[in-house]
């Protein structure tokens, strides 16, 4: 029977695309499996990981079970070693058409955001980009809204169903929108890296993982691009997402860019963290794009976030406001950053930061 994405009843199970690069599974996949596990439990269905690659180590495949997968569909083929849109889309669409999952989650990496839309267009189903929260259970969704929205949840009518409720920031974080895809399956979503929490690794789960080798039908003629080279950036990129402390700089360092960044680096090193930045600094070419926090940069939730000379455009806030402790230094007392800051100092970052560095050093030395 021909594949029909609108025959919603025929679809079952939650899938996670587990992206690999150079044979290594990306950590985003573990975050998605952890989240997918919850959804699969709520629905009472299987959670499957989907791996495309060439000669991936069995341990790596098994490890997916440690993060919640019941089963792994392993598509092993020479032409799947390095990502190409054509090959990956074909193999995934063939598999989806064959197995019919009801939910399909993909990490919103530069590859996931290339693959997801192409697959959704071919399968004739909806795709919601860059989700930050997922629910199937309405009661759980209402709990989520109680803490994250201004909606009067108890006096609002919610349609009861187990459709996937995909919540994402819209308009640069000014609004949140929950999207559903009620008429078509699979319900597809790309999920921002760093947003979902990875659950602790479960040895027993890993041992139980069922690996199903998929019979991949793929030919060179299916691929219309030629990958000439894959190159890693020469310099080590900053790991903002995993950082415990982030010290970010904003437009306020324009007076002395080098000096401002140096101060941030010094403060970051005293606190044991890394340097982030607002979009303005990246746009101005003062700092590399890998430092950018915010809607178009990275989402971080470190223990301490220090904002130096950042006014706090909503796009920036969207990427850092869930940090546990936010310390803001800005000359302008009406800067929006102070609305989310746990502690604010109105002052010149060039004067305040050195004092802060000294005081923290002294406090640490006293311990």
């Amino acid at each position: 029977m021909a594949f029909n994405s609108s025959d919603t009843a025929a679809f079952k199970g939650v899938w996670v695309f587990c992206e690999q690069r150079e044979g290594v599974i990306m950590s985003t996949s573990y975050q998605l499996l952890s989240e997918g596990r919850k959804l699969a439990n709520d629905l009472g269905v299987e959670l499957c990981g989907v791996v495309l690659g060439k000669d991936i180590k069995e341990d790596y495949l098994k490890a997916l079970g440690g993060y919640g997968a019941d089963k792994v569909y392993y598509c092993n083929h020479e032409l799947l070693d390095v990502y190409t849109t054509d090959a990956y889309t074909k193999v995934i669409c063939d598999l989806v058409e064959d197995k019919k999952p009801e939910i399909f989650l993909i990490g919103a990496t530069n590859i996931g955001r290339d693959l997801g839309p192409r697959c959704a267009a071919r399968l004739h189903t909806g795709l919601t980009a860059d989700c930050t929260h997922l629910d199937v259970d309405v009661a759980k969704y209402k709990e989520f809204l109680k803490t994250t929205s201004t909606i009067d949840v108890d006096n609002t009518v919610f349609e009861e169903n187990t459709n996937l409720k995909m919540t994402r920031p819209a308009f640069g974080g000014h609004l949140m929108a929950t999207i559903i895809c009620p008429r078509f399956r699979p319900q597809m979503s790309t999920v921002r890296p760093g947003v979902m929490q990875t659950q602790p690794y479960d040895e027993a789960g890993a041992a139980k993982t069922v690996i199903e080798n998929v019979d991949v039908k793929l030919d060179k003629s299916d691929i219309h691009v030629e990958v000439l080279e894959v190159k890693k950036a020469a310099k080590k990129l900053v790991d903002l997402i995993g950082a415990d402390v982030v010290v970010s700089v904003g437009r306020g360092i324009s007076k002395d860019v080098e000096g401002g960044i140096k101060l941030a680096e010094e403060l970051a090193s005293v606190l044991g963290g890394v340097v982030g930045s607002s979009r303005a600094c990246v746009d101005a070419g003062w700092i590399g794009a890998d430092h950018q926090v915010g809607q178009t940069g990275k989402t971080v939730h470190p223990r301490i976030y220090v904002a130096l000379g950042i006014s706090g455009a909503i796009q920036h806030l969207a990427g850092m406001q869930d940090s546990e402790c936010i310390i803001a230094v800005n000359k302008n007392e009406s800067a929006p950053i102070f609305d989310v800051a746990s502690y604010g100092i109105v002052g010149d970052l060039y004067k305040v930061t050195p004092m802060l560095i000294e005081a923290i050093r002294a406090a640490k030395a006293a311990k």
């Binding site: 929950t178 219309h224 406090a363």
Partner: protein, 266 residues
């Protein structure tokens, strides 16, 4: 050869954002700009025009005022513009939008040495989906996150950004490239370009123009034809105000550090 560039007019969310009483964005009250990544796509196309003399056609789906943006792109050097605008197209999600834009691009006509350009993503939706979906609907190869382009005849070599590096990819025309802002610095409109832009052709494609294309089906376009719908939209709550420190001198800083210390934050 020609370059077809898909462009979107978006509300300028970098400044003050107007929100209506019901919590939705008041688009009418906000300034509009050409989406940044799309400008990079236009510039990429214009550079190919500078080098080869090819024609550049800009196409945008949106309400009639989007004509203003298209005129600006003509003033930058594009040769023709197409505004895809109809009530039937309103409320489209990315899937439905890509159906309509793909139909419009087919109407413009794709020759086998043409390149379709899109921006990576629009700042109002940030989905990055429409480009790849248009490519699928047109059955052409795509490369997204393009940060460098070299065209030699029908062979296009591009640098595609990854989070931790890049890929160099070779693709044959016709193909679709989605461009990142970092690709280039878009040129300004020129005085001469502005003086000419109202004489350049700008066509409006409405439902009637496109309805014979198999992609244009009431079940796959517009609000009703969109696979995804909004279930709820809401504004995030305003976070409780933190503590503003008094002053900005040594005493202030020391007080802050002692609070952080007491709370075991540092």
């Amino acid at each position: 050869m020609k370059a077809i560039v898909c462009v979107k007019q978006v509300p300028d969310t970098s400044g003050v954002v107007a929100v209506k009483e019901d919590g939705t964005m008041d688009r009418a009250a906000m300034a509009t700009i050409t989406n940044h990544d799309d400008l990079a796509a236009v510039e990429a196309a214009l550079r190919i025009k500078d080098a080869t003399g090819c024609k550049v056609v800009v196409v945008s789906m949106g309400p009639p005022p989007a004509e203003g943006m298209l005129r600006e792109l003509l003033a930058m050097g594009a040769d023709e513009a197409v505004l895809v605008s109809a009530r039937e197209f309103g409320g489209s999600d990315t899937y439905a939008t890509s159906q309509i834009l793909a139909a419009a691009i087919k109407k413009i006509g794709v020759d086998d040495d043409d390149i379709v350009f899109c921006g990576r993503q629009a700042i109002d939706g940030d989905t990055a989906q429409v480009g790849p979906q248009i490519a699928e609907k047109l059955g052409m190869p795509q490369v997204s996150y393009v940060a460098e382009i070299n065209v030699e005849g029908k062979a296009v070599t591009v640098k595609r950004l990854l989070e931790d590096g890049y890929m160099t990819i070779k693709v044959q025309t016709p193909c679709l490239l989605t461009c990142v802002k970092e690709l280039n610095d878009a040129r300004y409109m020129s005085v001469g370009g502005i003086m000419e832009c109202y004489q350049k052709p700008l066509e409006v494609y409405n439902y009637e123009t496109l309805k014979d294309d198999p992609l244009i089906d009431v079940t796959t376009i517009g609000l009703k034809g969109s696979p995804t719908n909004v279930y709820k939209s809401f504004s995030p709550p305003v976070k409780g105000a933190g503590m503003m420190m008094e002053g900005a001198d040594k005493a202030t800083v020391e007080k802050l550090v002692s609070i952080l210390n007491d709370k075991h934050i540092i």
